[in-house]
């Protein structure tokens, strides 16, 4: 059965069609979910894509988490449904309390738009089941507020319970413990700053993102 992946669209999202396109390239079907909808329309997985949801006013994700669709996404996640937040989507999921920690301004105060190499730290998540620990993936980053931070207790828990899914090889933004992506306790909700949907075709310079989004499709099918 073709995996149906819902891609949330907020006013200000801008990576939703890249997500739909890459899901299609990987053999799934992407469907846009408007932020004002109060259900996720029976999809098998949800992607919260990158962009500037609600203009990123106040803080990235602060207003988006009140959109009706986010209550539906929270219910879907609570039932074990796979949910992935990419870039701004990661910020939205931390603000919504679906993932631990927060993302603040890059340590160098620069907007970063460049290729990055990330290393798989855990293969036990909805985004990394096709990968192996230690795999290095070339996936671009594109953010100003991607500096992952959390208190020391949370960091100890993330390390102890294998919730750090991806790490930067050369930390570009000051993230604590080189964190590029984390999962929740249930391992079905994952957030990451790099953009796997922009690395699913060699013509774009890398197809390494297919390993990550392919894992999501495996779980959704």
């Amino acid at each position: 059965m073709t995996a149906l992946v819902g891609v949330v669209v907020f006013p200000g999202s801008n990576c939703e069609m890249d997500c739909v396109e890459s899901v299609g390239l990987l053999g799934g079907e992407g469907r846009l979910l408007w932020h004002g909808d109060d259900d996720v329309s029976g999809v098998d997985a949800v992607i919260v894509p990158g962009g500037f949801a609600h203009g990123d006013y106040l803080r990235p994700g602060a207003i988006a988490r009140f959109s009706p669709v986010m209550s539906a996404v929270a219910r879907f996640a609570a039932d074990g449904g796979p949910v992935v937040g990419i870039c701004n989507g990661f910020q939205v999921l931390t603000e919504a309390g679906l993932l631990p920690g927060a993302l603040q301004k890059n340590s160098g105060l620069k907007f970063l738009c460049q290729p990055s190499t990330i290393r798989v730290s855990s293969e036990n998540s909805s985004l990394t089941s096709r990968a192996s620990v230690g795999d290095e993936l070339s996936i671009p980053i594109n953010h100003f507020e991607g500096n992952y931070t959390c208190d020391s207790e949370t960091l100890a828990k993330l390390r102890g319970e294998d919730m750090i899914v991806l790490r930067y090889v050369d930390n570009p933004n000051g993230s604590v413990d080189d964190i590029a992506g984390v999962c929740n306790e249930g391992r079905n909700v994952v957030g990451l700053m790099p953009h796997p949907e922009r690395a699913c075709n060699e013509i774009l310079g890398s197809s390494d993102g297919g390993v990550l989004l392919g894992s999501l499709l495996d779980l959704a099918a």
Binding site: L58, R59, A62, F66, T94, E95, G101, A102, Q104, K105, N106, S107, G108, L109, N147, T149, C150, D151, G174
Partner: protein, 87 residues
């Protein structure tokens, strides 16, 4: 009754403040020596309707905790004062 509210948002201690650090590093080049401890925050002001000071403070604190700050990285000081219009 109307109350003026001012919320001063700052980064929690221990959370890196790259904007504050950048300003601090730039000051000597402008001839300002001996400045330290620069931190950058934001101020949010609004007016709320409540029956008394206590209720206004409770409303403001609740709004602050649920929306205006992210408690993972930010702290806030909330000031509530009876009165109308702009601060």
């Amino acid at each position: 009754m109307k109350f003026k509210v001012q919320v001063d948002v700052s980064l929690r201690s221990g959370i890196a403040d790259p904007a504050g650090a950048t300003i601090e590093r730039a000051l000597p080049a402008l001839g300002y020596e001996g400045v330290s401890g620069v931190s950058v925050g934001k101020t949010i002001r609004f007016t709320i309707e409540a029956s008394d000071q206590e209720e206004a403070e409770a409303h403001a604190e609740d709004l602050c905790a649920s929306f205006l700050i992210n408690p993972v990285i930010e702290d806030a000081t909330v000031t509530v004062e009876a009165g109308n219009g702009d601060l």
